[in-house]
Assembly symmetry: C2
């Protein structure tokens, strides 16, 4: 497997675009994106488990109930959530795109992200749909990635090339993250395209399994959004024998999918609201994978640890504390803990108790912008990783005044 | 019931003191406190549910297993947690106090708060114990309250007077809070004294019931501490007929206890690390009390809502979002939401959807330093309250560099 360029347009048969249509006042920020497949593609999705759901989610669920889709339309700047006419607006967004693309409205995935509870007008989308569609191109991934950003500071794109049987396949993804990121079965907005031929059932199975070790192990701030959505479209253009069951081909597909999703997770975590550091907690030596996940997620979610990482402070007691309240059944007295970065690694806790270590050396390691927190439970051979970011002044600044 | 002065020394037969003994380098900050009852008192406690537990917790549990205690010794500056010789140190602290007080070491409650995993020396305590004991007085509550503070900016004391039968009774409490506050069956350190006569069993029942609606509904930062402890001592000096069962007297006692615990909760929340505002979420119209509690706690814990409150931003979508991911079974389309403060109140959401409201008026209300978030689920008549604070730059500052 190798990384390639092109994002969501790397796979054969996909084009994309992103424009400013006026949902946002800032004219320099794209706010409407479109992804299009030449043919109907197998489509799978996972959604937020929040009881409060954005209107686009129910519309998308209905549209892809048959396992297929051909386009994705998505806006930023307004979540279209908790609005009385939300479903009507979401349906109309999809219908506008379908009409211009000359496809069925039922084959359009609709998504929105932005402020909750703000009435949403269809006018900017109606005004922009012509240029959105006419601008679709194989080079459009970056513009589409920008169109879904809210407080994100960087576009999040990835693409890989891999083999299934004798065929070369491609898969790419874009994502938006930043705040209200604590996915439960899904994350904010992630769109993945691939030219692999796979049935909708196997595609959904691959995605539903994957999110357990990817997006569900990601947290910026503990707030599970109302609009989380991960969508994968597979249009079969690579010409491989259609994947209909488990086996070698399905494993190769799942591996590629996990490469794309984990890469997007790290990009989302590193660009969390106000973040200066990407944190990765790797738990090893767990008796079962569920324990490993619970521990890793709890560590990555601790506000106190996140603030300590911002200050490059090796306050390891906060890691132990977070493991202790995680709910996982672990033997605290067997835990070893290290911090690691590009500058090396340092042991700070052995058998659940502090060890002598150089604060200067720890500081040097923690001043890097990618930090690994390595927890060994010494109780088995299961592992898990979780991703998050530090808690900074800028998180408070961004969220103290988001709407103005 | 009326509020009186005197804190933990308001009840007959209790004295207290707090000194600087040298656990902390800052000589102007008291770091060792003592509470003493003239006679053995019925004693009940609740503790953290964190698997990582401070050494003093196991020592205290063993000491009060018989339902009685006569003194509390507590230090700040070191949590005595994750240290190899922690239990030995905690036992020695208790023994030093017992020897000077001429009581049994088994009648001493031991507690610690501060940095986790820092080796703790007994020397400062050994050096300070004489002046700690000789300074015990009826006026010592404030010094004891100061001695348990860590990043707290204000002492937390309360006392009330109430009647049981024909007898006037008193109850007082001190607390330390600030950070790592998300109690699970207990809170950081709270010590409550009363001269009521009550059996240890009924005292424990009153406390265990009370924390469900008091300290367990409090969160500063979502981090459940390793050292949480709430201890109540009842020495019987008020001369009431000993409370041995439920009934009118027990109800009067529980009411006084709840007045003290809720007052301390609010003080802890208002003085959360970096806090500028006390937040109270009141959930009404719930089908059952568990639902009300789950919703209230989820709202108060949302980092996004906390940051919005810091910015006096009426971003009510974040409240709905937090209700949606709380795990409580609620009908989102029946929720009404108001913000209230000393400046009045404003409806921002009706039946789960936004209503027109004046942003200027909302700002005026939210600029106050005590904010109520009023959620009506319109599904029953159960209620609950939870307390927290806003998320500010100073929380990050304090916790980015706590140990240096």
């Amino acid at each position: 497997m190798k990384q390639i360029t092109g994002g969501i347009c790397a796979a054969e048969g996909f084009t994309a675009n992103g424009i400013h249509c006026g949902i946002r006042k800032n004219r320099s920020k794209r706010d409407l994106s479109l992804i299009f497949s030449q043919n109907r593609a197998a489509c799978a999705a996972v959604y937020t488990q929040n009881l409060v759901k954005g209107a686009p989610i129910s519309v998308t669920k209905a549209h892809i109930a048959d396992g297929f889709a051909q386009a994705v339309i998505v806006n930023s700047g307004n979540a279209n959530t908790c609005n009385f006419n939300g479903v009507e607006i979401a349906e109309s967004m999809g219908a506008l795109a379908a009409e211009k693309l000359n496809i069925s409205a039922k084959d359009v995935v609709v998504a929105s992200t932005g402020v909750i509870g703000l009435p949403m007008s269809l006018d900017p989308i109606r005004g922009g749909i012509d240029s959105l569609v006419s601008g679709l191109s194989r080079e459009g991934s970056a513009n589409a990635a920008e169109g879904i950003m809210t407080t994100d500071t960087r576009k999040k794109e990835i693409a890989v090339e891999f083999a299934i049987g004798s065929k070369t396949c491609r898969m790419g993804g874009i994502a938006k993250g930043s705040g209200m990121i604590h996915p439960n079965m899904a994350t904010m907005l992630v769109f993945i395209t691939t030219d692999v031929s796979i049935t909708p059932e196997m595609l959904q199975k691959a995605l539903s399994t994957d999110v357990k070790s990817s997006f569900n192990m990601l947290s910026i701030d503990g707030d599970t959004s109302t609009n989380d959505m991960v969508v994968v479209m597979a249009n079969g253009k690579a010409g491989n024998e259609t994947i209909k069951t488990g086996g070698e081909d399905f494993s190769a597909f799942c591996k590629a999918l996990n490469t794309v999703t984990v890469a997007l997770c790290k990009m989302i975590a590193a660009d969390g609201e106000g973040a200066t550091k990407l944190l990765e907690c790797e738990v090893s030596g767990a008796s079962d994978v569920e324990t490993a996940r619970t521990v890793a997620k709890s560590v990555i979610c601790s506000s106190l640890l996140k603030a300590a990482m911002f200050g490059a402070d090796a306050n390891w007691g906060r890691v132990l504390c977070a493991i202790g309240y995680s709910g996982a059944k672990v033997d605290i007295n067997r835990i070893d803990l290290r911090f690691r970065s590009a500058k090396g690694d340092i042991l700070v806790c052995k058998d659940g108790h502090g060890v002598d270590f150089s604060e200067e050396r720890a500081k040097e390691i923690l001043l890097e912008n990618e930090i690994e927190i390595l927890v060994n439970l010494n109780a088995g051979d299961c592992t898990s990783k979780a991703w998050g970011c530090d808690l900074t002044y800028d998180y408070v600044k961004i969220n103290g005044d988001y709407r103005t």
